[in-house]
């Protein structure tokens, strides 16, 4: 029964082929967006590419004129072993953060469906408050909580006899530092995933769910065969977006670990860009790193983008 229902939904998709009426209509619909994006980003992107091909430090900035050195900036960055270490660290960091965010967020949305209405409203308000907290403020609260000298985290762990965490410095090792950063980022990212997935869950055909339940199918089967196919486009979007955002995450690692504690042993791509590019007033290198980041993120998310495109094509 389950598979038949799913098959019907699937076949419905294939039955409707669409003919194109008014061929120019889609272009007009797109025009405003294209117009704004081109007007605002056209020149900056051109300028960024130009910068990446120039030697452009502070003296050149003052003269507003750089010297063309071709691909030398790119070569210098790609030959720097630091770049590859940081890239690896960032890829692992992104994978962990995205994984946790999507899984926990989806679980949260499923939880939201199952609780009483009053608790649903309370939870949603709580989630929006979390979402609404200015990142700087969230970082500061995290710093207070994870502070080695008087942080709540050490206090609670010691009181609960998990171990002696008195004056334990969570930022002494790179791994531990990034565990803290991950907890902050995932915490801040969950509300958006929960709310979006919850909104998408509302599109799951209710009669299918009820039919499946009457049939006695277990929760996991229902999720896999009925809910997941409907959620798939949204989950793909959220995953690809999370990859893009988490790869470029800057505020949290920068502020939580501290501007004074960023070193080559704990850079992420975003802080590496900030310090090696703009912190050192080396704008040409900064532009080159920006473009490299663009290419890398594109590569990381291509799988999800392709699937998303294919889902659109089937329709």
């Amino acid at each position: 029964m389950l598979t038949a229902a799913a098959a019907t939904v699937g076949s419905r998709r294939r039955v409707t082929g669409r003919q194109i009426a008014g061929r120019s209509v889609p272009y007009f619909l797109l025009l405003p967006v294209v117009g704004v994006l081109a007007a605002i980003l056209g020149y900056p992107i051109y300028f960024l590419v130009k910068l990446s091909l120039q030697r452009y430090g502070l003296p050149e900035l003052v003269q507003r004129h750089g010297e063309y050195i071709g691909l030398d900036n790119f070569r210098a960055v790609l030959h720097d072993p630091l770049f590859w270490h940081v890239l690896l660290r960032t890829v692992v960091f992104t994978a962990v953060n995205v994984g946790l965010t999507i899984v926990l967020g989806t679980l949260g949305a499923l939880l939201l469906v199952r609780v009483s209405t009053w608790l649903r409203l309370l939870l949603t308000i709580g989630l929006v408050l979390v979402w609404a907290m200015p990142p700087v403020v969230a970082v500061q609260v995290w710093q207070w909580m994870t502070n080695s000298q008087n942080g709540v985290l050490n206090y609670i762990l010691t009181q609960l006899h998990v171990g002696n965490y008195f004056q334990h410095n969570w930022y002494e090792t790179t791994f531990s530092s990034y565990a803290m950063v991950t907890s902050l980022i995932v915490w801040g990212a969950i509300p958006f995933v929960v709310i979006t997935v919850y909104a998408a869950l509302s599109q799951v055909p209710r009669e299918l769910l009820e039919a499946a339940q009457i049939d006695g199918a277990r929760a996991w089967r229902i999720f896999k065969d009925v809910t997941l196919p409907v959620l798939m486009p949204v989950l793909l979007i959220l995953t690809s977006l999370s990859i893009i955002w988490d790869f470029g995450a800057f505020t949290q690692p920068y502020l939580l670990i501290g501007p004074g504690q960023q070193t080559s042993s704990n850079y992420l791509m975003s802080t590496y860009l900030y310090y090696e590019g703009f912190g050192k007033n080396d704008f040409g290198t900064g532009a080159a790193i920006s473009l490299l980041m663009l290419v890398i993120v594109a590569g990381l998310s291509v799988v999800y983008v392709r699937r998303m495109l294919r889902v659109g094509e089937e329709a």
Binding site: P26, T124, V128, W131, W142, R206, M293
Partner: protein, 279 residues
């Protein structure tokens, strides 16, 4: 029936625990705003101040430009959200419901824009806005709105496209059979069904614009034109004593409009739910 009740009770317990854990940092922010300075900096954590004070709130409000900057932020955010929603809704329809040359390219470009690290664009955007054909847009709210639109549009288009794709096709066919024009059908039929998607994207656009810092700080120089995130940064950006009580109080106040906005639009999610049931 009773099995359902205990099931729901179990979920409620889980829900309350999740609520507690998630909201704890927000709770910490709000209670800090109510604590005296001695309690904020005390060695042993003060979980809840026994004598909450409102001094930090009045301190924050009375600092220069607080209300002005709140007004500026509201203008910027409302304009960004309204324009982004309108433009991206139409674009999403085009991308999801039509086949035309350049469709795939456009989608890829939209995603690619999201992948640009914003830090790299600060200087180029500053230069562009300074030389903008319609007039110098540096130190104007319009300039900031345009920048925020650029960062919000790709996301909104991409997400709304996903929501539009998720709509069952037979509804659209029913509308077309009705004899109405295609666009009219889309708008009349799709809009309420995509409402949950519109809510999610509008809340996202609202919050990211509200909390954005780098471009607001770089583009807006005058205290009277800045947004509230820049105002906040001046509280902790000096070399001396950082008044965390005032910062937490200001952040709590700033979060309130976001919650209100969300409460106003969240009814649409419920609408989406019932729409499915009616079908």
């Amino acid at each position: 029936m009773s099995r359902r009740r205990t099931g729901r009770l179990g979920w409620n317990v889980v829900g309350i625990v999740v609520f507690g854990v998630m909201v704890f940092p927000v709770f910490w922010m709000i209670t800090t705003a109510l604590k005296s300075n001695n309690q904020i900096y005390s060695f042993n954590p003060v979980w809840f101040p026994r004598h909450p004070i409102l001094g930090h709130f009045s301190d924050a409000i009375h600092r220069p430009y607080f209300w002005t900057d709140v007004k500026n932020t509201v203008i910027v955010v409302v304009a960004t959200v309204a324009i982004a929603l309108a433009l991206s809704f139409f674009a999403a329809i085009a991308l999801a419901k039509y086949r035309f040359t350049g469709r795939k390219l456009f989608i890829v470009l939209v995603i690619a824009i999201q992948m640009l690290p914003q830090a790299g664009l600060i200087i180029p955007l500053y230069i562009l806005l300074g030389r903008f054909p319609t007039g110098n847009l540096v130190n104007t709210l319009t300039g900031v709105i345009l920048v925020y639109l650029t960062f919000a549009l790709p996301f909104c288009v991409w997400t709304l496209r996903g929501f539009v794709l998720g709509i069952p096709k037979d509804l659209e066919e029913a509308a077309m059979v009705d004899g109405s024009s295609r666009i009219g059908a889309f708008i009349r039929i799709l809009l309420p069904l995509v409402a949950p998607g519109l809510v999610a994207t509008s809340v996202f656009a609202f919050i990211t614009s509200w909390n954005e810092f780098i471009f607001a700080s770089t583009l807006l120089h005058d205290g009277s034109k800045q947004t509230i995130t820049v105002w906040l940064s001046l509280l902790y950006g000096g070399n001396r004593f950082v008044d965390w009580g005032a910062i937490m109080a200001a952040s709590t106040l700033i979060a309130i409009p976001i919650v209100i906005f969300f409460l106003l639009v969240q009814r649409r999610i419920a609408f989406g739910l019932t729409a499915g049931a009616v079908k």
